[in-house]
């Protein structure tokens, strides 16, 4: 096992304890509120996520067990199995068993467990329903001598739990490599930290079991709101510190000067750290996909290559946490549904034998965009509609446009696969994707051409992100432009700007003729009196057609924290938010393209009056 794999596994375990705590609460709610279908849906989604992640990081046993559990849940969800205390009891025992496995894995990443009893029991209940399963349930209890029930295992300390490894499942844990010694999560095991601080959702029994094991989780979860508050105050601190520094230059006290200097350094450090608390590069999440593509392709006997673009794009941690699961699903879908099932089909279509999936991330027009593009068979709108009608999602006879038909794949219970496999077919994956993405105010766009391939684009707002930006001047006011929008900036010669009737101003740029706008005009303000040749042209190319915006001056390049505008002004087009600049004043973040569209449709002129009078 290499370091990277280990890191992924440890990360998963951390995430899994949280999922497990959520699931348990749902199970308990279910017992008291058996009629609540949304609860079942939620549990099902949680289990599905859990299975996917477990498989992705290579905990096959765990994923196998959850797969079975999922089948049981599906029965209950479809109403084929009654939700009574007996079935809920089984679910809870499974939950305990999963937790026991997680605890075991935390100590030894290669631990193996005995799940046969519960698996049999689940199988029984799936096959025979509750009444019939009651009798066979007695059997495992009879064998309890060799296989203690999960609850008992669970209460045991982990060492003995590990010893209970079934004989048919090699290798025995005791002989396994001493992985925990080097795994990141347990590096703190050397320090005698209280074990009870880890795994907040765990039952007391689990904590007791862990006390002997001593593997301590050295990370904590902090709410986003708290972090936000911290950042606000740090921002304020930086500004106050600049004020003090300016004032102190008038006082002749070397000690004071030196102290203020040091405060400046410390403040900078604090600012850097608090900023870095929120953003992480996509790299790790992206690289996790390599493994998923490889494994999925292997199990489906396909040849698929994954290309990663923009791995260094930084994403707000909270966004990333919510992005992980949807990405796993979408990448797996691309391999499973996107790429043609056989090499022959690909060769026939004139495509290389090896399919390609491109995973790209970039910032665009104030959004974070993640693209999953495959060169497979594409989505067939007519076929999708047909399946939806078969599944009862659409009324018979419905005719949909391609775009609507493509979005059918997000419907709950929709699947183009007839056989439920490990990889897909339950019709729950894309549903999860959509739920998770819309939770973070994102949007999924689908572009697909039959025979050419599909592109799924996740567009996320930047409200949580920090961006690199260019601060520019228009008259006396500063504005912020996302650096990703700026292709280049230059000081044009007056003769390169040509005014034409009908087309407006045009900049002649190295053989290109690009429409030019003056920032003051598109903001509906009076032009500053500076001469044209002092102005700086900013070339924007992230839209379909390039354009140039003339600004008075560039103040500098800096990272800014995007602050959403209040609800009362958020609807105004052309601004994606605001940022607080070094002088403590807020500046608007410009959405240049929107501003230009606005100007063209004439609303700028309309609002012109109001700006002047304000």
């Amino acid at each position: 096992m290499d370091d990277f794999e280990k890191e992924m596994k440890v990360g998963f375990l951390e995430e899994a304890s949280q999922l497990l705590a959520d699931t348990e609460q749902c199970f308990l709610d279910l017992e008291t509120n058996t009629g609540d279908r949304s609860l079942l849906d939620k549990i099902f989604r949680l289990a599905h996520n859990f299975k996917g992640s477990a498989k992705a990081v290579g905990f096959d046993q765990l994923s196998h067990f959850t797969h079975q559990l999922e089948s049981l849940l599906l029965k209950m969800k479809n109403g084929e199995l009654a939700i009574v205390s007996q079935s809920v009891d089984l679910l809870l025992r499974c939950n305990d068993h999963v937790r026991m496995m997680l605890d075991g894995l935390r100590d030894n990443l290669e631990a193996q467990f005995d799940c046969t009893e519960l698996l049999n029991e689940m199988q029984n209940m799936i096959k025979n329903g509750i009444e019939a399963s009651a009798a066979p349930m007695a059997e495992p209890e009879a064998e309890a001598e060799d296989m203690p029930p999960a609850a008992e295992l669970f209460a045991d300390d982990t060492a003995s739990a590990e010893a209970e490894v079934a004989a048919e499942q090699p290798p025995p844990v005791v002989a396994a490599s001493p992985a925990p010694a080097t795994s990141p999560a347990s590096t703190t095991a050397a320090t005698p930290a209280p074990a009870s601080t880890s795994a907040p959702g765990a039952a007391p029994a689990a904590t007791a079991a862990k006390a002997t094991a001593g593997a301590v989780d050295d990370s904590i979860r902090v709410s986003f709101a708290r972090l936000e508050r911290l950042l606000n105050y740090v921002g304020e601190l930086v500004i106050l510190q600049t004020v003090v520094r300016e004032q102190v230059s008038r006082i002749e006290s070397p000690l004071l000067l030196k102290t203020v200097d040091q405060i400046g350094k410390v403040t900078k450090e604090v600012q850097d750290i608090s900023m870095s608390l929120r953003v992480v590069p996509l790299k790790q999440t992206f690289q996790k996909m390599q493994r998923i593509v490889r494994d999925t392709a292997k199990s489906l006997d396909k040849k698929v290559n994954l290309e990663l673009i923009g791995e260094d794009t930084e994403v707000d941690k909270t966004l990333l946490e919510k992005l992980g699961d949807p990405l796993v699903h979408m990448v797996r879908n691309a391999v499973d549904h996107g790429i043609e099932s056989t090499s022959e089909a690909r060769l026939k279509a004139g495509k290389p034998e090896v399919g390609t999936i491109k995973l790209a991330a970039f910032h665009q027009s104030g959004s974070l965009v993640i693209e999953i593009r495959d060169d497979g068979a594409g989505l067939d709108g007519a076929k999708l509609t047909q399946i939806a009608i078969q599944k009862g999602i659409l009324k018979p006879g419905t005719v949909l446009g391609d775009r609507e038909a493509h979005h059918l794949i997000f419907a709950s219970g929709f699947s183009t696969k007839t056989v439920v496999t490990d990889v897909s077919g339950r019709g729950v994956g894309m549903d999860v994707v959509k739920t998770n993405i819309s939770q973070i105010q994102g949007e999924i766009q689908i572009e697909s051409q039959i025979g050419k391939g599909s592109c799924f684009r996740i567009v996320l707002p930047l409200t949580l992100a920090i961006i690199d930006s260019m601060v520019i001047n228009c008259g006396s006011d500063a504005f912020v432009i996302p650096l990703s929008h700026v292709h280049e900036s230059l000081r044009p010669k007056p003769e390169d700007i040509q005014n034409t009737t009908g087309l407006g101003d045009i900049l002649l740029l190295r053989g290109e003729n690009i429409p030019l706008f003056r920032l003051a005009d598109i903001l509906g303000r009076k032009r500053a009196t500076t001469k044209d040749n002092d102005e700086i042209a900013i070339v924007v190319r992230n839209q379909e057609k390039p354009f140039v915006v003339l600004v008075d001056d560039i103040i500098g390049k800096q990272q800014v924290v995007i602050k959403a505008l209040g609800k009362e002004i958020r609807h105004i087009k052309g601004f994606s938010g605001s940022a607080i600049l070094g002088n403590g004043r807020p500046a608007l973040i410009l959405e240049l393209h929107e501003l230009i569209v606005r100007t063209k449709t004439g609303s700028a002129n309309y609002n012109n009056k109001s700006m002047v009078s304000a």
Partner: protein, 165 residues
Amino acid sequence: MSNEKISETAGKAERYLSFSLGEESFAIPLLDVREVIAITETTPIPFAPTHFLGIMNLRGQVISVIDLRKKLGIKPNQSTENAIIICNLQAVTIGMVVDSVDNVLHVQSVDVSEKPEIDGSKKTEFITGVYRQEKRLVLFLDIAKALSLDDQKAIAKATVDKKTA
């Protein structure tokens, strides 16, 4: 919201913050007020309605600042304003420029009279009542209504749709 609760249980006195705009006195429920700060610089927002002065930085939070005088049609008296009242209104936090913050009024609900009914088309629903403080009349305001925060979005959307159509 919370202030209604208190007034229900206590039944008697409610506290209002009174302030002046031009020559007139107004008051808003004290519980809507988050804080009062000295006037500060604002960054203007292009295309915003005229009564939006701009946005300001309140310890890291970006807040819209409005000039209620423009909204209510009170003659602006640019030089005298000296404070911004930060109000929490439902989901919106907003700063309001005022000429001066006067005092906190303890008002018995019986002392608040209904606003005098006027026949005419002028909208007065943002005035929740009037109160006579010695010889001065104080108008109780519902800021959210005065700014028509609820319907503003709809209006803005309608105008944009019309423009792009």
